[in-house]
Assembly symmetry: C2
Homo-oligomer: 217 residues x 2
């Protein structure tokens, strides 16, 4: 039915979108039948998915969709925080006109998105787009891609997190501020803003209480 690449992306999507819930067993034979492909290439796919933390392999027992690991989420946030501080300071005052326009364009789309209903998935994409743009403008697209490989837990965390309350407006405004600080070269304000922006509520217990079924214990 499909190529390896396509199957992998589809599985990734189903996991990230939580259609496949953490803990769900996905056996080689089942996938093999579903996608009409023999077990060998399916094994390759599962191997890679496990390497990128989408799936946990329990030898001779089975493969399950990984539970969200909050520890890993916190560590990734710290990593991004440190990196983006550096990146934003590098960009501050040095941003090309083309760059300015790109950021403003994304910000405008985010504003549009908020007025729509039930568009949190789309907003999430635009959120990523904004941060990715910062990386790329600073010549650090390489590192953005690198981080993406460890983002399974963080992405699912954010998805659930955004559902729980209407944070979208706040996030958009913070993006706006970030762009302003870069353009106006107010680099002394960057650290605090970024810290709040990325770390928002990771420490609160709300998440663990309401989504315990998805979480690694």
């Amino acid at each position: 039915m499909a190529s390896k690449e396509e199957i992998m992306n589809q599985l990734k999507n189903e996991i990230l979108s939580l259609q496949l819930k953490p803990g769900t067993m996905i056996s080689e034979t089942a996938l093999s039948e579903r996608f009409e492909l023999s077990r060998t290439p399916i094994r390759d796919i599962l191997k890679q998915l496990s390497q990128e933390n989408y799936v946990d392999i329990y030898p001779k027992k089975g493969n399950i969709v990984s539970y969200i690991d909050l520890e890993s989420v916190e560590q990734i946030i710290y990593l991004r925080s440190a990196l983006e501080k550096e990146i934003m300071k590098g960009l501050a005052g040095n941003l090309s006109l083309k760059g300015v326009h790109e950021l403003k364009h994304i910000l405008a789309m985010q504003k549009d998105c908020i007025s729509q209903e039930d568009e949190s998935d789309h907003f999430l994409q635009l959120d990523d787009a904004f941060h990715e743009a910062l990386f790329v403008l600073a010549g650090r697209g390489f590192l953005w891609n690198l981080i993406q490989q460890f983002n399974v837990h963080y992405i699912r965390y954010r998805k659930l997190h955004m559902l729980q309350q209407d944070k979208l407006t706040e996030i958009q405004k913070e993006h706006q501020l970030m762009a302003d600080y870069i353009i106006q070269d107010e680099r002394d304000k960057i650290d605090d803003l970024l810290h709040h922006h990325l770390r928002a509520d990771i420490d609160s217990l709300y998440f663990q209480e309401h989504f315990s079924e998805y979480i690694k214990k």
Copy 2:
């Protein structure tokens, strides 16, 4: 002859130590015969090695030991630089007595190591040990391990780099300074020191001229 894990570590070692030179072809059948194991588990190993950039897979053509990618080296250095600045600032003034002793112990071993001859490999280990200790003391061992997965290029780069001139004393002294700054809580001096420490000579052309056979074009 050996388990998958052992085979993987052995291959990793041979690649990192440059016994297996970049560009060398390593076919599944050859490995299969060498380790007396069938192709399927060997394929698993190669897949993982390629994921960690030890090996490049060319579909239907073959697998080769990856060339050192200087771009990737530079990006990793930037990443480590940003992270370690943050980590050191976090540690400054907050280091436990046990931590102080640990760092001093490593520094002492480095000093010993320098007096020996032909011990650059050992010194490299101690260099890692020092930086890893900083990560772990800050509760960021997770991120240290994460970075390690992208370190193939960087490790080989450093290995060659250290051969070219006697940098060991300088490195050791900088480590000493780093520890002092942390203990004395002189965090304003950290940025510049770390920048120099990690970035040393990455931009020089010496490397590209002398080791072109190892380098990705």
